[in-house]
Symmetry: C3
């Protein structure tokens, strides 16, 4: 029999010891119920309190996991305030997260199934802190779920989940206007302009991409088509337009960050 899978996505920072507290709680409670759970780290390098980046990363990654995987996500500037914690089934995956938009991008391309508010404290650690609900509520709830708890026991149905506003690219005359969604660990600029947006623009080799005062002619298929050090635009593995320096950091060279405007003009 396969071990149940739980993934963790947080803004704690790589190497944060807080994370290991969540793992200890999850392993302890699952093993008390004789369940050998497998924990996979997605990332802990989401920018602090950056719900938008967390939401994009989750939407890209969670659907790659086996059906039934439980994804625990903690990017939670509102911890200890009145924001809700929720359980939600989206597509083939399950999520435990604050109801702050963190899982909302997933519902654009996957159907939202059952969702419940985490309100019954019998599935939490006793006397939860007000600052660390990942350890005191989400991890114990995950342990109960992998041990077979019916999710409807967690609390009342969760309606009207918070939706994240994500900037959409806009077609304006012969141009597409978008922006940098986030900067990846290479310094590549990932934009909200998609493969699909470019299809009506004609020959990709003739497109002009503008960002941070720089112009790039043509959209490539891969990094290796351009010499090291050159600025280039390509469609990345998620189907998004990406601005990169071959073997370098576009974020540093262009001084560009999240929300930097990007324009693509037909050739």
């Amino acid at each position: 029999m396969m071990r149940p899978l739980v993934t963790l996505t947080t803004d704690f920072g790589m190497g944060s010891p807080y994370l290991a507290q969540m793992k200890g709680v999850l392993l302890s409670l699952a093993r008390e119920r004789s369940v050998d759970v497998e924990i996979i780290d997605i990332t802990h390098a989401i920018g602090p309190q950056n719900v938008r980046q967390g939401a994009v990363v989750l939407a890209d990654i969670a659907p790659r996991f086996p059906a039934g995987t439980i994804h625990v996500a903690v990017v939670d500037p509102g911890v200890g305030t009145r924001r809700r914690l929720i359980y939600a089934e989206i597509g083939t995956q399950k999520f435990l997260a604050p109801d702050n938009g963190l899982v909302s991008l997933l519902t654009r391309t996957n159907s939202l199934g059952s969702a419940f508010v985490l309100s019954d404290p019998q599935y939490w650690l006793p006397e939860p802190s007000r600052t660390f609900h990942g350890r005191d509520i989400l991890a114990p709830v995950a342990a109960h779920l992998v041990s077979g708890l019916d999710p409807s026991r967690l609390g009342p149905p969760a309606n009207d989940l918070v939706e994240l506003e994500l900037p959409q690219s806009i077609r304006e005359g012969a141009a597409i206007h978008g922006e940098v969604l986030y900067v990846d660990s290479f310094g590549n600029l990932i934009t909200n302009i998609t493969h699909g947006d470019l299809t009506w623009c004609g020959d990709r080799a003739q497109l002009m991409v503008e960002c941070a005062g720089r112009q790039i002619r043509g959209v490539l298929g891969t990094y290796g088509e351009s010499p090291p050090g050159s600025l280039l635009a390509l469609i990345d593995s998620q189907g998004r337009l990406e601005i990169a320096i071959a073997c370098g950091s576009a974020a540093r060279e262009l001084g560009a960050a999240e929300r930097e405007p990007v324009v693509v003009r037909g050739g």
Copy 2:
């Protein structure tokens, strides 16, 4: 049957390849004995040779793990010198570490059980290096332990374990004097002043917290009670007084680091 659990806590740095050598040795020796061991990383971001930070992190985290978990800890400025390596049972957990105080904080709140010096080289890699005892001694010993070795075979009983001196907060008139224990990955300043220390001070909303020339009025229950960018003091999820910038880094804004004095005055 549950797989035996081994955790790793080191100052190797996140992504250090040295760590994977320990994992390879541990997995190889355990599997030769048909034991399917599960390895969990606690953190590898302990500051280089910072035994104090390592000790605080271990004391916070290890008790969260299932009973019988073996915690391998390597923060070892004395590697290759005469310092001892030890096995110790503390509370429900087991530890393999240098005898330099790294596990000593745990014995303040958990009972110290059996402890042995690692002196019998038949449980080590042959010809251990003088600079990497984590790989050459601790990892193989952990593999033998998860395979059922009686710990008393490792060497003679370990008496008089090294105690770490940790600064205690001091009550002086109407004030508590403490200091920053360590800086977490958000730049929050974690102090040695506890929830318990504050109970006699009266109304928390009226307390005055001083650190690095700044004054903070009131001790909050969570980050979200203060607007983004504001300097605040709160009791963290470990019951310690913490100085933080909501959505920011207190360490950077205050220019404060480990050992910075902190004073709390009654209102």
Copy 3:
């Protein structure tokens, strides 16, 4: 029965979410075939596109793992170009990597067994991207292999694997001339001068090590033999000459990086 082991070594950066996509694909395809695979991260902190560093790290670490472990390695500046992806059995270990020299150092001390070009797309994800072959080709191939696929099905035999040129140390009169191979996460400078190179030089305590305009007298056995803050040379746990600052960063203090010349002179 032991779960099959797959390790991951990449230059994605610690915390890169791209990595979790590989894990999701690998877990999904293996579990569809009822195989409970265990994934171990070696490191994701290889410098971007630094094939040389990746090759040294793999050669140091892979042989520590249990026989039959599959090591997936992605340091791949040529992704999407005509470079081949290969499967290779080297010593007791198995590798999936671009054919760019990344696994070539292993063949110097371990025998190269079967090797195949990954050319049959039936073992890949459908419609693989041009920029992320780790997710779209290597991870699915690894899932097929742990599920029992005969590697000869992957494609034709791979002959003439690309060899990495690695600078060798040179004996010149009474001196050995070498260079810094890479800088580790402590800022220690790891050189291409080995334990064996020094054996003919006479008394180690009398050797003179020169690097970045600094001279160090004597090669030590371990860090602890030198006071904190001092510059020292020692033989590291891989048998390589290493230049270090006790409790500090030699790379920062000497302003030295990869390829910095190092000379050792007899006493």
